[in-house]
């Protein structure tokens, strides 16, 4: 499918300029893109849950390379730090804590799979058609000064976007508190884990979120 689309894309792009710029960055982009897409596909189809997380690392890493190729270097490093570094680790912890089976699990996909495939293919076809139809002649000029250096990004972030930036920090704080509230076990209503919490009833009631669920530290 991707090759067919690539052919379409190439045919569309060929009208004004060639597929390739003099620097040949397209070749690198296409190769990394294929790897990224392949890793993504494997992520959503593999029957081994942990493997899915690892293939996700490959896909996200590939995206970081694509950012670099698009001269957005700051974003690229942020991508590596946050996604590859922390999100995937978080996901792995989640898999562990929910006692996900290691090895091939036969029921990784739900019964909804045919519908999901139909919807996904339809969405992909529609999006690719629209995107190619709209941007077939648009050319990105990568030859000028880099658009995403740390200096440029920092300047715009702390001049034009400082207010949303601060608001975002509040959002993060709220998410932090929310995650703690959600994951600490409440009271004795839940019989399944009341026994595990019975060792520290005073701490639970007395001192707020600090002694909350032990998996919380790992999650953060």
């Amino acid at each position: 499918m991707s090759t067919a689309l690539a052919v379409t894309t190439a045919a569309a792009a060929a009208e004004t300029r060639g597929f390739l710029s003099p620097t040949g960055v397209e070749i690198a982009f296409l190769l990394v893109g294929v790897v990224t897409f392949g890793a993504a596909v494997v992520t959503v189809t593999t029957r081994q849950l942990v493997h899915a997380a690892l293939w996700l690392v490959v896909a996200l890493g590939g995206l970081a390379v694509e950012y670099l190729l698009l001269t957005a270097e700051f974003i690229a490093w942020v991508q590596v730090l946050i996604y590859v570094g922390s999100v995937v680790v978080l996901l792995l912890f989640g898999l562990m804590l929910t006692k996900a089976p290691i090895g091939r699990s036969p029921d990784a996909d739900s019964g909804n799979r045919p519908v999901a495939l139909a919807v996904a293919v339809a969405a992909a076809a529609a999006l690719v058609w629209v995107v190619v139809d709209a941007f077939r002649t648009t050319w990105i000029d990568l030859s000028g000064p880099a658009a995403g250096t740390t200096a440029v990004t920092g300047a715009s972030l702390f001049q034009s976007w400082v207010l949303p930036f601060e608001a975002l920090s509040v959002l993060l704080l709220a998410a932090l508190v929310g995650a703690i509230v959600l994951s600490r076990r409440t009271g004795g209503t839940d019989g399944s884990d009341g026994d595990r919490r019975s060792t520290a009833p005073a701490a639970r009631t007395g001192s707020g979120p600090d002694p909350a669920a032990p998996d919380k530290e790992g999650a953060r």
Binding site: S2, T9, R17, V25, E26, L30, F37, A40, T43, V44, L49, A53, A59, L60, E66, Y67, L70, T71, A72, F74, I75, V78, Q79, I82, Y83, V87, L91, F93, G94, L95, T98, D107, D109, S110, R113, P114, V115, A116, V119, A120, V121, A124, L127, V131, V132, T138, I140, D141, L142, A147, S156, L157, L168, A175, G178, A179, R185, D190, S192, A219
Partner: protein, 129 residues
């Protein structure tokens, strides 16, 4: 470079993530698929920002700023999402999405009715698509 390259890659990644969201049974795998979809959007944002920077229409770098925000929000989302999944797992002993059917019409056995209704919905979806 043609803008179509990153745009098409982004569309394909988005569709892949969509498939994962709709087809995966484990809630954590669904979260991974959501991350894929978010990253597809991020790629779009960065590519369009670079394009607009090149033709000097946008000096605010709003695309990249938004990308950073999206990444931060995504990090928060994954934290909250995992907390929810853990809470559900603790309450229900499972994190399989298709077994969390409290909103179903009562009277049906949720496990037995699943494939049949899914097939019916599939027919419906194909008919409309």
């Amino acid at each position: 470079m043609h803008l179509a390259y990153p745009a098409v890659l982004s569309a394909l990644l988005f569709a892949t993530g969509l498939y994962g969201v709709l087809a995966r049974r484990n809630a954590i795998l669904v979260l991974m698929s959501v991350e894929l979809m978010l990253n597809a959007v991020n790629l779009n944002l960065v590519a369009f920002d670079v394009w607009l920077d090149g033709i000097a229409r946008d000096t605010l770098h709003s695309g990249q700023a938004l990308t950073l925000f999206t990444i931060a929000v995504a990090a928060a989302e994954i934290g909250i999402g995992l907390a929810i999944v853990l809470a559900v797992y603790r309450n229900r002993g499972t994190s399989d999405i298709d077994r969390l059917r409290d909103t179903a019409e009562s009277g049906d056995d949720p496990d037995d009715a699943g494939p049949g209704t899914a097939a019916a919905a599939a027919e419906k979806a194909e008919a409309t698509a």
